[in-house]
């Protein structure tokens, strides 16, 4: 018997759905439409100044060196920062979760602390940590004999600085996920491996890593999605400089859209960003399904917070 449309379920779903439809779905579609026009400050003054220009924004975007720079910067951040962040998180998880570790909860809390701090506040603190002559980082490096690096003024070091800050801020989040994964590996697998004469290193390679593969994929997807949306760090630390070496796609979108009011061009950037994120996610999912070992769909859905609150709360 088909459930009637006037079922109470519909009423329960409607408020949330209405909000999401009105304030999420509609703007997304509107963005696409906006990207096909040359909506700008003149158009804000007088709508008659608006023109539909088809794909011209995209063509201009492809010709804009600033776009390519932003794209390169974002991909640099994702490709370098992502794996580094995952590696650091995994290492921390291994350390915290090790059998011999005491005061597990304390260390877990400490490592997680940066995750909950407000991103802007952190960026403010790091702006001073990264100062060339009076910053904490260079002071610390000086102790081990490394000369002062102009983190925020040298185009070669600015993005690494931001990567460093992002890793510091985020590694606790993924660490917790890894810990959960580690704890779900049955002890007997390790015992069996030990009986076979496997040392710690081999246990890691042959028991831990394979069992954790789904977790790795999950964490990497999460991290990549979050990192593609890099905005607050360059906004507070460098405003995209020096020499636009930290200009990210979202920052470019913000500048085009809210500084210059080139809404058409900014919407095009947003759409391109979405396409890239979608592409990266599909690639990773495809790679994973090639490996085999899918869980059932609804469960995956519950655990992939892409752009919403927790990604904002914790990962960003």
């Amino acid at each position: 018997m088909r459930p009637p449309l006037r079922a109470p379920g519909v009423w329960f779903v409607t408020p949330a759905l209405a909000v999401i439809a009105a304030f999420f779905a509609v703007p997304v579609l509107a963005s696409v439409v906006l990207s096909l026009s040359d909506f700008d400050i003149y158009a804000v003054a007088d709508l008659r100044n608006l023109r539909f220009v088809g794909l011209r924004n995209y063509v201009e975007l492809l010709r804009d060196p600033l776009f390519w720079q932003a794209l390169a910067n974002t991909l640099y951040f994702v490709a370098v920062g992502g794996p580094l962040s995952v590696a650091v998180s995994f290492a921390a998880a291994l350390l915290v979760n090790a059998r011999l570790t005491r005061w597990k909860a304390f260390f877990r809390t400490v490592f997680f602390l940066p995750v909950v701090t407000t991103l802007v506040a952190t960026a403010v603190v790091w702006r001073y940590v990264l100062q060339t002559r009076s910053g904490l980082l260079n002071a610390g490096l000086g102790l081990v004999g490394i000369g002062p690096i102009d983190w925020l003024g040298d185009p070669r070091w600015a993005m690494p600085a931001i990567i460093l800050m992002a890793i510091w801020k985020n590694f606790g989040f993924n660490m917790v996920i890894f810990i959960a994964g580690l704890q779900s590996i049955p002890e007997r697998l390790y015992e069996a491996a030990a009986l076979d004469g496997a040392g710690a290193w081999q246990q890691l390679r042959h028991v831990t890593l394979p069992m954790l593969a789904p977790t790795f994929v999950f964490v990497v997807i999460l991290t990549v999605i979050g990192y593609c949306q890099l905005f607050a760090e360059p906004y507070v630390l460098t405003q995209g400089g020096p020499a636009n070496s930290t200009l990210s796609l979202v920052l470019l979108m913000y500048q085009e859209g809210f500084r210059w009011w080139n809404m058409g061009a900014a919407a095009a950037v947003a759409v391109v960003l979405f396409a890239i994120m979608l592409g990266l996610t599909m690639i990773q999912l495809r790679l994973r399904s090639l490996d085999g070992g899918w869980q059932s769909e609804p469960r995956r859905g519950a655990a992939v917070p892409a752009s919403d609150a927790p990604a904002r709360a914790a990962a960003r």
Binding site: D38, D40, I41, Y42, V44, A45, D46, N49, R51, E60, P65, R127, Q131, T132, R133, S134, D150, L152, G153, P155, T238, Q239, G241, P242, A243, N244, F258, R259, W260, W261
Partner: protein, 430 residues
């Protein structure tokens, strides 16, 4: 259930809340340091006009331009606000500003003739005045007199050649690490030098870039050369966090800045250095033509859509009074836009300010187009790229022309080009 009721009531209450602007109070947005001190100043206004309250909101310069435009789009502009005068063409094109000619004409206290012509001109778009200059800004040299004297120069340099020679000698003698600090992403320095060379930044009715023209290229090369010769550090914008300490320790000798630095240097430099720095008008390229600088400054403008134009105008008149202009000067170091205020001994006998007085007689405005801020940012960007060695000058200027042409495309489509090919640069003064 009671909890739910309370929750619902809370939510409705919060959702109903809007901006807490009280009825009958005038809303003023002020930028930067002025924003912080103007609250003191409006207290006097409130006393004089009992019943009018003024709410001041301070906005940092770095975010001001985007905040103003966002507010315009969001229909949340205040009654009156401060703007950098290079933004006036943009806001006027949007129809956000109230034309002020009539108000000025009818005013008993405010006279158009009182203002520096070059400065007032920046507020006039297509013959209509949109703003009242609040304080003036132009760029000139701040320098360490002792370092310069030590290298054998009693007087500040008058020509570009002498200037470079002075900096070279200072560096050779090890008196300072660098000759001049030029923040990399700022466009003011290359543009000032270009204006001095007589370069028109845009051509054909301000609808195309003219950056590949010889005049601009020479000025640009001069600018880049300062870095190449090691006379200016390749420091970025963030490095200016240590500006005052670096000036004090002789990290650099010259600094291109505006009047606010008079106040800032006075406040932040150690007392021992108080006598050791001075201001001087810019050197000119050949020593013959008077040295030009930027006609900068901030103006007060009235939002066209406000219902409190009368009150807003009264506040402008108040702030334009010589007494208030001097008050601002004493608080922040901003130089008055009205010439009457300059007769006060505080300024007439202030050597730092006098250099500005001289320079202000020879100022030129940047092209008065809505897209100027964008164009300026691009100039700064390409300047930085060339200085960092990422691009060669001809290539960079060609690319700059291309980008600027693209930015101005809409302007051409709208038919706003004045159509006078080869028109002289705007804002010719003195």
């Amino acid at each position: 259930m009671a909890g739910a009721g309370a929750g619902a009531a809370w939510a409705l209450l919060v959702l109903g809340c809007g901006s807490p602007a009280a009825e009958g109070s005038l809303e003023l947005w002020a930028l930067g340091r002025e924003g912080e001190v103007v609250r003191e100043m409006v207290a006097g206004f409130e006393r004089r006009h009992a019943g009018t309250r003024v709410r001041v909101q301070q906005i940092p310069w770095s975010a001001a331009h985007e905040k103003l435009l966002t507010a315009y789009v969001g229909e949340a502009l205040p009654d009156l606000f401060q703007v950098g005068n290079s933004w006036i063409p943009e806001l006027a094109a949007l129809g956000a500003l109230e034309p002020l000619d009539e108000w000025i004409g009818r005013s008993a206290s405010l006279r158009a003739t009182d203002y520096f012509p070059g400065i007032l001109d920046t507020n006039v778009i297509d013959g209509v005045t949109y703003g009242v200059p609040w304080y003036v800004d132009t760029r000139l040299l701040f320098y360490r007199r002792d370092i310069l004297a030590g290298a054998g120069f009693r007087e500040p340099p008058r020509t570009w050649t002498a200037w470079v020679e002075a900096m070279e000698r200072i560096r050779a003698q090890g008196r300072a690490r660098y000759g001049i600090l030029l923040p990399l992403t700022e466009w003011q320095a290359p543009v000032v030098l270009a204006l001095q060379r007589g370069a028109a930044l845009l051509r054909d009715g301000d609808c195309y870039g003219a950056f590949s023209a010889p005049a601009f290229r020479e000025a640009f090369e001069f600018y880049v050369d300062l870095f190449r010769r090691g006379l200016a550090p390749g420091a970025g914008e963030i490095q200016s966090a240590n500006l005052y300490r670096d000036f004090a320790t002789g990290y650099f000798t010259f600094y291109l800045s505006g009047p606010w630095s008079i106040g800032e240097f006075g406040r932040r430099l150690p007392p021992a250095l108080r006598e050791e720095w001075a201001t001087a008008p810019l050197p000119s390229p050949d020593g013959v033509k008077p040295p030009l600088s930027l006609a900068g400054g901030a103006s007060l403008v009235i939002h066209r859509g406000t219902r409190r134009k009368q009150a807003a105008w009264q506040l402008i008149e108040y702030l334009a009074e010589p007494a208030q202009q001097l008050h601002l000067y004493r608080l922040v170091g901003d130089l008055p836009s009205g010439r009457r205020a300059w007769e006060d001994p505080a300024l007439a006998r202030n050597p730092h300010a006098q250099a500005f007085w001289t320079q202000l007689q020879h100022v030129r405005s940047t092209p008065k187009i809505p897209e100027w801020e964008r164009v300026a940012t691009k100039i700064g960007r390409y300047a930085e790229l060339v200085v960092r060695g990422a691009m060669a000058t001809p290539e960079a200027l060609g690319a700059l022309d291309g980008e600027v042409d693209a930015v101005l495309e809409k302007r051409r489509w709208l038919g706003r080009c004045s159509g006078r090919a080869g028109a002289p640069p705007h804002g010719e003064a003195g």
